[in-house]
């Protein structure tokens, strides 16, 4: 639901209302004191404006209690707010015993998730509402940061260590997931979404996704969730340099490999490129594709192959010249 101009984020986790309350209290204090200073200044400016060239201000008369007063009061206020903030902080970082463990690994420009039952996802995380979740966070390369604004939680993924965050979704919905620690080239595209589902829907989703869709459609959905499209996509999308060959019109055509051999792009070639991409690299491309071995079930593999085969026929149908020759990527 794209609001035209949202001014406040949704509160969709157990800790969100507490953080919001703390934030409103502090905002109120800030606005009060800023307004107090502004009003005082404006009043003094008018009341004590200089009336003649040689007028000077009267010497100060106020006793010291005023000075002590506005040292103690700010100190008391800040310490109270500190205590309140610390309590909210510990609510965020101390998971209850019944929390279910999920894992995530931040890798340069994608999040890889794993559910307690081994189910894997990339860039999207499906979670049941009302279930406390302890997310163990790791990083494969640089420092990333797992941030879901709607849950008001954030935790850096530090390479070489495992850090942890705890949250419990309270409202079903699709919420933004951001990486908030600068991590290089496509830091701003290392985003995704956390999808909170009612517990029953979550079970259905876990069971293999919604039934009744054609193999190609399921393949297309899988193509998205596995983030294949982050690399395999047309050149023009957002001007980002393509990192992998286009799949439109691939199926059924000749493909020239790095080692000079050319072969037919058939089911077997696609299956192998998914499970063990490094074996056959298309000429002119870098071997950056991660393996999906163990991430896709046999059935999902079949769905993906039918989807890519459908891409091939569409291209032939709209007699787009099959681009067997991969575009030469500029030096990265």
């Amino acid at each position: 639901m794209e609001q035209e101009l949202p001014l406040f984020p949704e509160a969709a986790s157990h800790v969100a209302p507490q953080v919001d309350a703390l934030f409103f209290a502090w905002s109120a204090i800030s606005i009060f004191f800023t307004a107090l200073i502004a009003v005082l200044i404006l009043y003094f400016m008018v009341r004590y404006r200089r009336r003649s060239v040689d007028e000077v201000g009267l010497p100060e008369r106020a006793p010291n209690w005023l000075e002590v007063g506005w040292s103690i009061i700010p100190l008391v206020i800040t310490l109270i707010m500190f205590a309140w903030g610390a309590r909210v902080f510990y609510n965020i970082y101390r998971p209850p015993s019944n929390a279910v463990e999920y894992w995530t690994v931040g890798k340069q420009w994608m999040w890889k998730f794993q559910h307690p039952d081994g189910h894997r996802e990339i860039n999207t995380l499906h979670i049941p509402v009302g279930q406390p979740i302890k997310l163990n966070i790791q990083s494969e390369d640089v420092i990333h940061s797992f941030f879901v604004p709607a849950f008001r939680v954030k935790q850096d993924a530090v390479p070489g260590r495992q850090t942890q965050i705890f949250f419990e979704a309270t409202k079903p919905g699709v919420y933004h997931l951001f990486c908030t620690e600068y991590c290089g080239g496509e830091h701003s595209r290392m985003i995704g979404s956390v999808i909170a589902l009612e517990p029953e829907q979550y079970e259905v989703w876990l069971a293999g996704g919604p039934a009744g869709r054609s193999m190609a459609e399921s393949g297309a959905a899988l193509f998205q969730t596995l983030a294949c499209d982050t690399c395999h996509r047309e050149e023009a999308a957002g001007g980002v340099v393509a990192r992998a060959p286009e799949l439109e019109g691939l199926y059924g055509n000749q493909v020239r490999l790095m080692d000079g051999r050319t072969l037919l792009a058939d089911d077997e070639y696609i299956r192998e490129s998914i499970l063990d991409p490094a074996k056959k690299i298309v000429a002119g491309w870098q071997p950056v594709m991660p393996t999906y071995q163990g991430q896709v079930t046999e059935e999902q593999l079949a769905q993906l192959i039918t989807y890519i085969r459908s891409l091939g026929q569409q291209a032939a149908a709209s007699d787009q010249p099959p681009t067997a020759e991969p575009a030469q990527p500029e030096g990265q």
Binding site: Y90, Y93, R161, Q162, T163, Q164
Partner: protein, 100 residues
């Protein structure tokens, strides 16, 4: 710094003390006292540093501001080390934060 100068004897005495302390720290290091080794080594090193500061570097005759500057330097180093170690020492102990 007032115009009088330290007599040579004081310098030689300080030199002697420093050599003795160096020998002492080496000898103590050959015994395995566990964590006490570090404490003793640092105690000796600090003593030697104070000797150098007080006699060789003429803090003995320096103005109050100069002495304060020297003390402030080492104190700020202590702030850096203490507060950084405050993080590392409590990574896993006090609050079971997800350490290793």
């Amino acid at each position: 710094m007032s115009e009088h100068s330290t007599s040579r004897a004081v310098y030689f005495l300080t030199f002697g003390a420093l050599m003795v302390l160096t020998a002492a720290t080496v000898i103590v290091a050959t015994f395995d006292l566990g964590w006490a080794n570090d404490v003793v080594a640092m105690a000796i090193a600090v003593t030697k540093a104070l000797l150098v500061l007080w006699f060789f570097m003429h803090l003995r005759y320096s103005t109050r501001v100069t002495v304060l500057t020297a003390v402030a330097g080492f104190f700020w180093l202590a702030i850096l080390i203490f507060l950084t170690m405050n993080d590392y020492a409590t990574r896993e102990t006090l609050f079971p934060f997800p350490g290793k």
